[in-house]
Symmetry: C2
Subunit: 196 residues, 2 copies
DNA sequence: CTCAGTTTGGACTATCCCCTCCAATCGTGG
DNA sequence: CCACGATTGGAGGGGATAGTCCAAACTGAG
């Protein structure tokens, strides 16, 4: 007896989420209609509401989860080896390249700027993303043996969010670039102790 | 002969912009309809389109300008006297109090997260706001006589944006708090030189 | 094969929303 | 007071959108 979703169903659901995520990255959540999603995913209305019974709200939560996973997986290759100044620098380069390439179409920008406030569930998704990310950065900062690793990690995270939303709003990458440089100075050789 | 707008007309236009700004702060631009604005400002449809001929797009630009002015004027009392560590600390306290009080209903969050990407005109408004703000912070950092005042100023601005959008998305104020502390360390007594 | 449960197509409704338009009123310079 | 432009009220069009519903097609476990 079939219980729940078959493989085909899961694939359809996946197509819907990915199409929605892409459209939202491109045009924003407000300018993405269910009909756009239906067309881009080659599905029908009944499928949308079959897999997302609460309709639009459900879909947005699924998109938020999908995008949060994207953000973390883009970070993964670096997060586990933030032990030396060189590895931090290499991570910095990767982050910059990543967001310069994505420009204003990045999953992170969507999450921080649009989806965070849209519902309690998406807010939870975004908060969890921040927690995971911050914890990984803090592990690296701790491994590096600097003072106040948690504050430094949090500050790096804040700088990334700021740089990315400012990139989204202005098209300028300088904010992210300068910000990351400054936020990483406590990790530089000889730069281990913020005063006070 | 009457040319352009009378005092009464200007007042009506002002009522419309303020009502729209308030609704957008509260519910977001996407969930604010022209009819909501009409009701909240006690005006009629024809008035909306009389004062904003391009309709919704025009109104959003006007709201962006209004909110940008709000952000700067909230900063004004402090921006001209960022010469000592104490004055920077007092500014920091004011910023924190301000955004904790506003929570997720702040003009800045709306600008950075929503309006920046909405049209080329609003993007210009937001960019100008950042430029003005950054320049004021840089003047203070220069007066304080630290190294790399422009980088430090920019980084402080990035930290504020990050802290505010994260406050918007999560409801947590810790990001802004910790971030500001860290971003201000180069201005602290004995903390004047970021390495490299 | 059988058949219950899953997946799918698509018509249909109800609502919302942006914007147009015309006529009425106001208020002000001359 | 007159005339003219600014201001206002509000009805209505045209179109998009979220969500409902039902019946057909498919799938896979037994």
């Amino acid at each position: 007896m079939n219980r729940g979703m078959t493989a085909k169903g899961a694939a359809t659901r996946g197509r819907i989420v990915e199409a929605a995520a892409q459209l939202i990255r491109e045009h924003g959540a407000a300018d993405t209609s269910l009909d756009d999603v239906r067309a881009a995913s080659a599905t029908s209305k009944s499928q949308l509401f079959h897999y997302f019974p609460e309709g639009r709200a459900d879909l947005l939560v699924a998109v938020a989860e999908h995008e949060a996973a994207q953000v973390i997986s883009a970070q993964m290759p670096w997060l586990d080896d933030l032990t030396t100044w060189e590895s931090w620098q290499s991570w910095r380069g990767a982050v910059l390249r990543h967001y310069v390439e994505l420009g204003d179409r990045c999953p992170l920008g969507v999450l921080t700027a649009e989806l965070g406030k849209s519902s309690p569930q998406t807010r939870t998704v975004v908060s969890r993303l921040y927690d995971t990310w911050e914890a990984a950065l803090a592990r690296g900062a701790q491994a590096k043996g600097i003072d106040r690793p948690f504050e430094v990690a949090r500050h790096i995270l804040v700088t990334i969010q700021g740089g990315v939303v400012m990139l989204r709003a202005t098209g300028r990458v300088a904010y992210l670039e300068t910000g990351l440089d400054a936020a990483l100075t406590p990790l530089a050789p000889g730069g281990s102790s913020p005063r006070l």
